[in-house]
């Protein structure tokens, strides 16, 4: 399929010293995002503040909506109008957006939802990091549906992975969740923005069929339907009700079964293609640490320190957290005696690790209720403890 290059007129190619939030905004612009709607919420607001300033310079539109409910659906309306769109929030707003994440999944609307996680639950710790929305990212809306969730761990990542997020959204016609955390969002590091010709973008899958033959939700060769350009006579219907290939509501168990297996299959059957991990010291690792986001950087430090003490520790960092890289974890359960999951919550992704390990190794959790990042020494203590029996 034909990739397109990014638009050189909009991209600030070169080296920058910016924080993750700003990098994420530039990543979206580089990905061709031309519509964002959002609502202020700490610690995410800088992303839309920057986009508000950049939008009228790069041919994009930004609107601050009256709340997250409006933001999360305005971007879907814009997507159907032809825009590449995204919204940005944190925990409390993420909760409000759940209905529309489900609506995006059900209507197969390409969209990106950014959550710069903070301490929760409820109002929690607005200015401090957390990673406690990870399960919510997967299961937060009602019903059966799939999401793709990415977890950057540096400002450079915030730029790079945003482009991947938009590409995945277009490829799978699904909402993609960009699960940052406050540390990564507010951390300032060097970010290199490449030249436009080195950024590949996946264009929207518009149908070439004439209106008389086109069915809005008929799966194409890879199981994913093509979209129709609005305003060109296709006269398509999009509904959140269970629908048939014509897009018409069809309230019966048979249609539900067909639709669900296609929608869920889109992601589950491609889970291995979508999955991505970053691994360190893994080849001979008898103790495998699993960590994502800011925690993965601390965990890597702990692994380095462990290695200096002769402990065969390694790190698997899911870059794509959903779909969870269960195949990789399952593989590693053959060589590792223990998995240590380090996350800034009271235990969320650890459940996925434990499930994938399926009892072939021990799974240990180093939780953190949030508000601060784990210390590498604290992780090392546990690694040493585990090394005694692993």
């Amino acid at each position: 399929m034909d990739w397109v290059k990014a638009n050189p007129k909009t991209i600030l190619s070169g080296a920058h010293f910016i924080d993750g939030n700003h990098a994420a905004c530039e990543g979206a612009i580089a990905a061709g995002a031309n519509f964002a709607a959002g609502y202020p919420i700490t610690p995410s607001t800088e992303i839309v503040e920057r986009f508000a300033a950049r939008a009228p310079l790069v041919g994009a539109t930004f609107l601050q909506m009256e709340d997250e409910l409006a933001s999360s659906i305005a971007i879907l309306g814009a997507a159907w109008g032809g825009a590449k769109s995204f919204t940005v929030t944190s925990g409390p707003g993420f909760s409000l957006m759940m209905e529309h994440i489900g609506f995006a999944a059900m209507t197969e609307t390409p969209s990106v939802f950014v959550n710069v996680q903070r301490g929760g639950p409820s109002t929690g710790l607005p200015t401090l990091p957390g990673q406690a929305d990870m399960m919510q990212a997967r299961w937060g809306s009602h019903g059966d549906y799939e999401v793709i969730a990415l977890s950057p761990n540096s400002p450079q990542d915030c730029f790079d992975l945003m482009i991947d997020a938009f590409n995945l959204a277009e490829q799978y016609r699904n909402p993609v969740l960009f699960m940052m955390d406050e540390s990564v969002g507010h951390m300032t590091e060097k970010v290199v923005i490449p030249s436009a010709d080195r950024i590949d973008l996946r264009p929207r899958r518009y149908t070439g069929l004439p209106a008389s033959e086109y069915q809005p939700f008929q799966p194409w060769t890879d199981g994913i339907p093509e979209m129709a350009r609005i305003g060109e006579g296709y006269r398509f219907h999009v509904t959140g009700l269970t629908h048939d290939e014509r897009g018409y509501p069809a309230i019966n168990a048979q249609t539900q079964q067909e639709l669900m297996s296609r929608l869920i299959g889109k992601i589950r059957n491609n889970a291995e293609k979508i999955a991505r991990t970053e691994e360190h010291f893994i080849e001979d690792a008898g103790i495998v640490l699993v960590a994502y986001g800011i925690t993965s950087r601390v965990a890597l430090r702990a692994v380095q320190m462990a290695r200096e003490e002769g402990i065969p520790a390694g790190l698997v960092r899911p870059v794509v957290v959903w779909p969870f890289p269960e195949k990789r974890i399952r593989e590693l359960a053959g060589q590792a005696k223990a998995f240590i999951v380090v996350e800034m919550n009271c235990g969320q992704i650890v459940n996925e690790v434990e499930r994938s390990v399926a009892g072939r190794a021990r799974t240990v959790l180093i939780p953190h209720s949030g508000g601060a990042v784990h210390r590498p020494e604290a992780i090392l203590d546990v690694v040493r403890e585990v090394a005694r029996w692993a």
Partner: protein, 285 residues
């Protein structure tokens, strides 16, 4: 002269393969759809460029029955969806067609903000004073004392005066009709379709199965006769005076028809003023 064939004027605008619809005998929603069909004809708009966005509820089903690029969105959120749609594709004529509960209760916040911003969308609100689809619960438009399943002893809340709400929020076109006033509805709809800015048309309509039956108000036809008898057309009346009284007269008409920059225009204006040549506005791909 050869044989001519005739077609129901509404038929080409319907998804005929989805007929018959789910609305009850004597429900007023279908009547408003006929008016919409006539209005589209009158307005001479290119139909490919008309998009219909509905929320959830009986009136929310309109989007599914009309043969346009149409969206059946989430409860209360048709207006922000339509806002995103219109901003992304300004060539479209975006019509929000939904009910009183959807637009004004759960959708109330979005309603007032879109009116405030003067988003260029046309909002058709079929007001049947009840939540029909879910079985007849009280709505923010249910008159005081009228019974509903969640107000079984009669509503004790003052209902909204929708034209007043719309005008005070900033709508540039505000009209109210009843389902009896078919030609007026079609005319208002045609005006709204051509109007730039947030246009609001409230249409009072019967809900025979729930609101009328529960309150012993007869059937749809009884209500239509009631509308005919008790309506007074007062074009240009102050929207402050448009509270609906169960016993009294129903004031209908066109109340607001004014001009101010739409959201898109205001946005462009500000950016152009501040950025001059650097302004790079959104254009469709």
């Amino acid at each position: 002269m050869g044989v001519t064939t005739a077609v129901n004027p509404v038929e080409p605008l319907l998804r005929s393969d989805r007929m018959p619809h789910i609305w009850c005998p004597g429900c007023g929603i279908g009547t408003t759809v006929n008016c919409f069909a006539r209005a589209l004809e009158q307005s001479k708009l290119p139909l490919d460029k008309v998009a219909v966005v509905s929320g959830i509820g009986c009136t929310g089903r309109v989007a599914g029955y009309l043969n346009f690029d149409s969206f059946h969105t989430t409860h209360g959120r048709a207006i922000p969806f339509a806002t995103g749609l219109k901003l992304a594709n300004p060539d479209l004529t975006v019509v929000v067609y939904s009910g009183d509960g959807d637009l004004i209760a759960i959708g109330g916040n979005h309603f007032i903000h879109a009116a405030r911003r003067n988003v260029d969308i046309k909002v058709i609100c079929v007001n049947n004073f009840i939540y029909g689809m879910t079985g007849g619960q009280v709505a923010p438009t249910t008159p005081m004392g009228m019974s509903a399943t969640t107000a079984p002893y009669g509503s004790f809340e003052r209902p909204f005066n929708l034209p007043f709400l719309a005008e005070s929020s900033g709508a540039v076109y505000v009209a109210r009709w009843t389902a009896f006033h078919v030609r007026h509805i079609a005319h208002s709809m045609a005006e709204a379709l051509r109007k730039k800015g947030f246009s609001f048309i409230e249409i009072l309509a019967p809900c025979p199965t729930l609101y009328l039956r529960r309150n012993k108000l007869g059937d749809g036809l009884d209500t239509m006769r009631y509308y005919k008898q008790h309506s007074v057309i007062k074009n240009g009346a102050s929207t402050r005076d448009l509270d609906l009284d169960v016993q009294g007269e129903i004031v209908v008409g066109k109340f607001v028809d004014t001009e101010r920059p739409t959201l898109q225009q205001a946005m462009d204006q500000r950016y152009r003023q501040m950025l001059k040549d650097r302004y790079n506005g959104w254009r469709q791909p």
